[in-house]
Subunit: 504 residues, 2 copies
């Protein structure tokens, strides 16, 4: 085979892997949205079969043969940018998987599934010791994997790289220390402010059917294409991509907490817009997905916070809200509403945290993960360290581990290194917004006039269309001309919360 033929065969080979991935995504969407319960255990086996297939094809002798030819540095200039990046991604997956002995990889998979189930019990019983032995084994295995990959110092970087390629602890340390310096005093000032927003009215019941219609309306308003997606109901909202023409979102209709539903829907909508706008040229390649967890989160947070929690947005949509809610909020002004949905105070549970305090929750987890992999923190000491960090960052201490170290599924799932992406997403989002304010000086007017689609187009042009063709920091640099800079987020927070809480 000459180079062109090898390239064509490689494309075909990879397309099949992507097709299998699409069926996995469909099977999982189906299990979460309404598959009958008696079929679930067999369906899980189906997902296992497909995942095995993806794994074995990604690490096969055939894949190696393609990579031997196409990853050869001397021929890179003969390849298109797309092929080069595809090969780089395929090779990364190949190397990561092939270096780990199969029995250890299997052991980790089994541990993941056991630990998730034990975690539920441990949370119920508020007993970290149940989970401890599993986490210990997982951390030990992860450390071994990192060694197999050939990393001996800064082990945690190898985990960060799984979710945020190219981002290191050095970068995150810099970002987080700036963020902390900016946010912690602001949180304190907000807490001390005598201008606390009234927010009790947010529990006013919002009939499910009306709430559903309002969510459908809002998704259309931000540019979500229902010919390339659908909205279903699940307990935990999520977005999943089958292909760029089929990007689905879910939400949960909470009649007594409608604002969580509304903002959760917009959040998932933000993820979905990213995936719906990926260039169709990338379909069938591993580049046809968001480039990192952090960039993905930047899109969902952009829409949730900079759109969904903005005053301009509700200036336009508050009357619609009242229409759908059958005038339930006619007693509150749009300003009352805006302040209520942005009320901020330190809290224990990350997923319920407000925009301002959220990054601090991530810092707690980041410090701990770093100490677990690059320091000498023992799994046994996690609860104590957790509580200490919570006091340090947020000034509160969880009364129980259930509300502390046991709250998140990420560690029992083996997803060490994932958390920082959430905070990076905030930083990226604010940096995009800053650039956008100069490209679209009428940014707030667009939102206030219901012309969000122009904002979506900016994101599509500068971020979405590239899928994984560009790496996260490359996207950021090309779109904003800068490395990650947390000052834009700090600036945004100061202005917004300064106004809401009338800080001096």
């Amino acid at each position: 085979m000459d180079l062109q033929e090898t390239e064509a065969a490689y494309y075909q080979y990879v397309k099949k892997i992507m097709d299998f991935n699409e069926t996995i995504a469909l099977a999982e969407w189906d299990m979460r949205t309404g598959a009958p319960k008696k079929g679930i255990s067999q369906r899980s086996e189906v997902v296992g079969t497909l995942a095995d297939e993806v794994f074995s094809r990604s690490t096969s002798a055939e894949m190696k043969a393609y990579l031997d030819v196409l990853a050869d540095p001397s021929i890179q200039n003969q390849l298109s940018a797309v092929t080069r990046r595809m090969v780089e991604k395929s090779k990364k997956t190949y190397d990561q998987n092939i270096k780990i002995p199969q029995e250890e990889s299997k052991a980790f998979t089994i541990l993941q599934s056991e630990a998730q189930s034990v975690w539920e019990d441990a949370k119920k019983a508020d007993d970290f010791s149940l989970l401890e032995p599993y986490l210990e084994k997982m951390v030990a295995l992860k450390r071994k994997f990192i060694n197999y990959w050939g990393v001996t110092t800064h082990r945690y970087n190898a985990l960060l790289d799984l979710y945020e390629p190219g981002v290191t602890t050095e970068t995150i340390d810099r970002i987080f220390s700036q963020l902390r310096a900016g946010i912690v005093p602001l949180v304190q000032a907000v807490k001390d402010s005598s201008n606390q927003p009234e927010k009790d009215f947010l529990t006013t019941p919002f009939p499910k059917e009306q709430l559903q219609k309002f969510c459908l309306y809002l998704l259309r308003e931000i540019g979500y294409d229902f010919d390339a997606g659908r909205l279903d109901q699940t307990e935990h909202p999520f977005e999943t991509t089958l292909n760029p023409g089929d990007v689905r979102v879910t939400t949960n209709y909470l009649e007594n907490d409608f604002i969580s539903t509304v903002l959760g829907t917009i959040h998932e909508g933000g993820h979905a817009l990213y995936e719906q706008h990926i260039s169709r040229d990338l379909v069938g390649t591993p580049l046809c997905e968001g480039t990192s967890m952090g960039i993905h989160e930047s899109q969902s947070l952009f829409f949730e916070n900079f759109i969904g929690r903005s005053k301009a947005f509700w200036q336009h949509h508050y009357s619609d809200l009242n229409k759908y809610a059958e005038n339930a909020f006619r007693g509150q002004t749009v300003d009352d509403f805006y302040r209520a949905i942005n009320a901020s105070h330190p809290s224990l549970i990350r997923i319920f945290a407000d925009e301002l305090t959220y990054p601090l929750h991530i810092m707690v987890r980041y410090d701990i993960e770093k100490a677990l992999f690059d320091g000498d923190l023992a799994v046994h000491d996690l609860p104590a360290v957790w509580n200490e960090k919570m006091r340090e960052y947020l000034g509160i201490v969880p009364p129980t581990d259930r509300e502390g170290v046991l709250q998140d599924i990420h560690w029992p799932s083996g997803d060490f290194g994932y958390f920082p992406s959430y905070a990076l997403g905030y930083v990226y989002a604010a940096q995009f917004r800053h650039k956008m304010l100069s490209d679209l000086p009428n940014f707030n007017d667009l939102i206030a006039n219901g012309e969000i689609v122009q904002i979506t187009e900016w994101l599509s042009k500068n971020i979405h269309q590239f899928g994984s063709l560009k790496k996260p920091l490359e996207i950021l640099r090309d779109a904003t001309g800068e490395e990650p800079n947390p000052n834009y987020l700090i600036q945004y927070m100061k202005e917004k919360y300064g106004e809401i809480y009338r800080l001096k």
Copy 2:
């Protein structure tokens, strides 16, 4: 590997094929129930990838190696009944596929998809000549395939065997000639009767939401398990099995033709009950599906006709119908209703035909298919022969080919040999009912008292649980002690229509 190890490896190998089949079924269900349209073309490629995978695994060297060992006649007594039958089925698939040159098999697949699309145009234009060249090529290829399989005389039997294993033209000729002799005079007498039922009130609007609730209620009444299934809406109702714990049905809510919705739902429910009751021991084997199209149809028709169109059923459910329909039918008695939903008259379109005339539509198609493959009928002459047969069997002639030879998708889909299963299903169903009347002498009371579940249990015990472990005629013999006997259907028709039309 010793025999036991080979058997275990074969089971594992086959399980994966079944897992792939489950994903194909899911992808197709999804495409028909609500997948966004912009994702469909990529999704079709996914289905193609999975189908290729199933095909190549079913005809692989590895499969051949298993079959060489396990299909060896000298070791059959060392295998369980399940393994023996699995091997027999795997071998049949293997032989059928391996004997056909790959390029011809591919050509046929392409023809199928082209012909289906041309068929839609031909139907719209009422122009058979558009479809003719495609059908000619398909028939020629099918004849070649039959030759490859090694059949030289009674070619049509090879096609029948695809849908109704073990049933030959000899059997069908016998059954259909008896049926014809019984039904044709009855159709004439019904037509001539002066006691025609009034049925105009069946177009009374039935609000969609209420109709949906009524369908959910009826499915529960016949024993459909919603923990192992779900009901969705599609233009054409269907049943699809992902696994026995996940058997889905769909229906279409026709506000101005609610009885079609109701009976269509019960029909699909009958298919679903079959699949929901297959023994869980057969999951992961090729035996975990209905044993033939005919036996499958016997279950759907049993419920549609012997339950859903019975007087006993409506004696129990007519007041419920009126409740759901907000008293729309309080002007009609249950007897009016029963007669209306059983009104019969010769008509042009098979899928809208009534219970009594339906088998005659099948005979038209059977005669034609037989002549195409074992006689010398040319594709070009299909329209003329169709009209002639319609006059012969039903006494009416379609004014257009759209209402004649072009009405069904089966031939453009390449499904020659499928039609007879529909009529065999009627015959089997009546034969099961006859046996049931002696096993459950209170058959009609059970229906009239809303205790259908006892009837469902009889079917489950005698038919459903076996999946494909028994062949169709074996199921029939074991359950009824007889070969296919059309007299029970004729008897049923005579009694029922004699009463409705007050024939002498």
